[in-house]
Amino acid sequence: MKSKGEGKWLRKFLSFTKSFIVLSVILGSEALTNLSCTKSGEFTVGKDFIDAETNVAIVDTFKTDVSTIFLDSVRSSQTGLGYVGFYRDTVLGSINCESYFDLKYSEFTAPGDRASFDSASFIFTYSKASYGDTTSAISIEIHQLSSMIAVYTDGYLYNTSQISYSPVAVGRKTFYPNPNSADTLLKIPVNGFGEELFTLIKNGDERLSSAELFNDYIKGFVLIPDSTQGNSVIGLKADNNHVLLKIYYHFEDVGPVEKEITINMGDAAHQFNRVRSDFSGTPLDGIKTSHRVSSVNTYNRAYMQGLVGLVPKIQFPTLQNLFLSSQWKILRSELIAAPVANSFDVFKLPTKMYIYDTNKSNVILNILTDSKNVPLVATFNYDNLYNEDTRYTYDISNFINAEISDMFFDYNHALAIGLSESGLKSSLDRLIVECKNPPVKLRVFYLSY
């Protein structure tokens, strides 16, 4: 009895065991293909006695030579932004901005004999870009150009381009700028000019019969600031829809009927800003275009300002020393530049800073890009609280690695930090780079093995 019972139990046990074995084999084969089930990224046990084969160290004692380049010229046409104003401070002297544009021809419909002129105005819209003290009144004159706006063979106009204009203003306005308002328009009355044009329209004058004749007759306009009033530069939208000449008139029907003629801004390629700077009495006094001034001679500062054409240049005089050892690689190279403390009260710090390469002739060559060919933008750290750690950090690994790949570092192949390509030609954003405390730093992450 007892033995029989045990046999039964054993058979049950054996059949259970068989299923167990089948399961185990399945699990076992699973284990063969999937060796470890621990999620990587979490396992830390054992870290205390690893004999590491690699080390990474940062070296940031490379010397940097920083200087300020004064660009020969900055392309300033076709930006959709007009700057007018005069700004002076002790940092960079004065900036004088004039905005040029012409008018678009469209066939005029005669308003009829009974129509009589009321008034005429140029109407502008603020662009929200403005610099300096916009709480003081400024004065702007509008002059008619005496020669037509003609682009260079490259199709552009520059901050240095000059177009002659009539010494007599067709309009003038003194006002408190309101650049942050989207709906406040800036109106500059040009009644004399407007009435003359109205008469020609009314008479069906031949000079208004074609675009060619029209643009020869009305060559264009320039907005000129009065340097004796106010201390600001204001930005205006400069496109077909936001620069308008309006002529208001009326005629008598049952009662008076009010009408207007609108003439839009002309060719966008002809719209440009002329920006003149005067560095007299500043550290940059005497700087020549296409030249550079070392920060050693400018109180350990380097200067950047968009349309003025100032660009900080950075050179690495000691990078050749990188080649002294062979058991290493550069993992990352960072360029760190900090603004001069308290230098950004009037001109807000640009949040997006880019970097270019430049040469011995101080010509800006190409914008540096990341591995995805996207322009490299600096990481901007703004130390709101203590104002001590505000800085721009560029990952210039690609540049440094490409430079050293031939075991030779060319001192003259340098970097220039600045605004975006469009920012350079369409803004007056300013940055003053501290070159001593702290200096502009090159931080190199070395892997040794």
Binding site: K2, A31, L32
Partner: protein, 390 residues
Amino acid sequence: MTGSAYSQVTSSPYSMFGLGTPEEQSSGFSKGMGGTGIGFMSDQYINMQNPASYSGLDSLLSIFEVGVFGKYTRFSTIKENQSLVNGNLKYILMGFRISKRLSTSFGFTPYSSIGYNINSTSVLGGSVQSFDKEYSGEGGVNQVYLGGSLKIFKNLSAGVNAYYLFGNVTHSEASSALAYSLKDITYVSNITFRYGLNYHFDVKSSNFCIGLIYSNGKALNTSNVTTVTTNTGTTELKNRTHNYSIPQDFGAGLSFRKGYFHAGVDFERSIWKDIKFENPLIQGRTSNRISLGVEFPSLGLNKGTSRMMFYRFGAEYKGSPYIIQGTPVNYYGVTMGAGIPLKGVVSVVNVSLELGQNGIRTKDLFRENFVTLHLDFALRALWFQKQKYM
């Protein structure tokens, strides 16, 4: 994937030292008896621990054994616990008698294994910052062996296993934040031998068996390829060298058999103290292994038949092959198992459960507690004689 599927047999941070974690050379029945096997001469299983034991193989049978395992490990430091599961093929063995005096066995089994993944941080030299770094290791040494055993006298056998050791020791380090990785692969190989003696005698109705084993230490042939990969490309270095050796090893075992009852004890000494570890925190030392085990059959109707089951118990202590900053990583384990006869292709399944502990928790070290399930599938075929009666 150099190192093949057999590479990551263990998965333990301790496997980062030297050739990795040395693998047990026990198989089959021995797994359930604390790895005890030097003094055993089984007719049913292949006992590769002592090459002289092949003389005991049944003259009628050729034996084929496959071992696999699954292991759950819990790692504890004084601060935290982490666990992982791993498993793999453990061995493939074949054995049979060639003639009245000569038997042979050959097979594949790992000598050591490396498998770890550790996430750590490293200080950026020249700064106060640190960065995440992942260390990982894989590979290990595999061995294929060909063994022979000669019956010198009726009670005395001598045997030798010739091993071809091959594999790689691979350590990697990588940082995704800094986009680099280093992979240091040392390929190792050499031929080594294990010698064995077995002497058995009867006292009344009891049978005693004494086993002795010896392996000589040897430096392995190495060649290294280290690759460093960064954003700018990959550099291959061939001028690095790492030296690896296997230790000299002595062992003695005694077993006792009465009827179907079996018991045994092993003592083994490995001279790791002559082996140099590159890690400055690690020093080799002489490592002793002591184990004992018993095996007894199921009672009742099946006793003495081919359906008889065996139960096994054992215990094992294995001294650490090295000390880490003065602390050894000793192993303690208890095992239990069963040999379950089956009908069909697989004649017997040996199931063993091992409860073990490795290392201790100190300020810097950690303890591994694990449960390992060993499965051994033994296939027995009548190759040389017709089946007469079963």
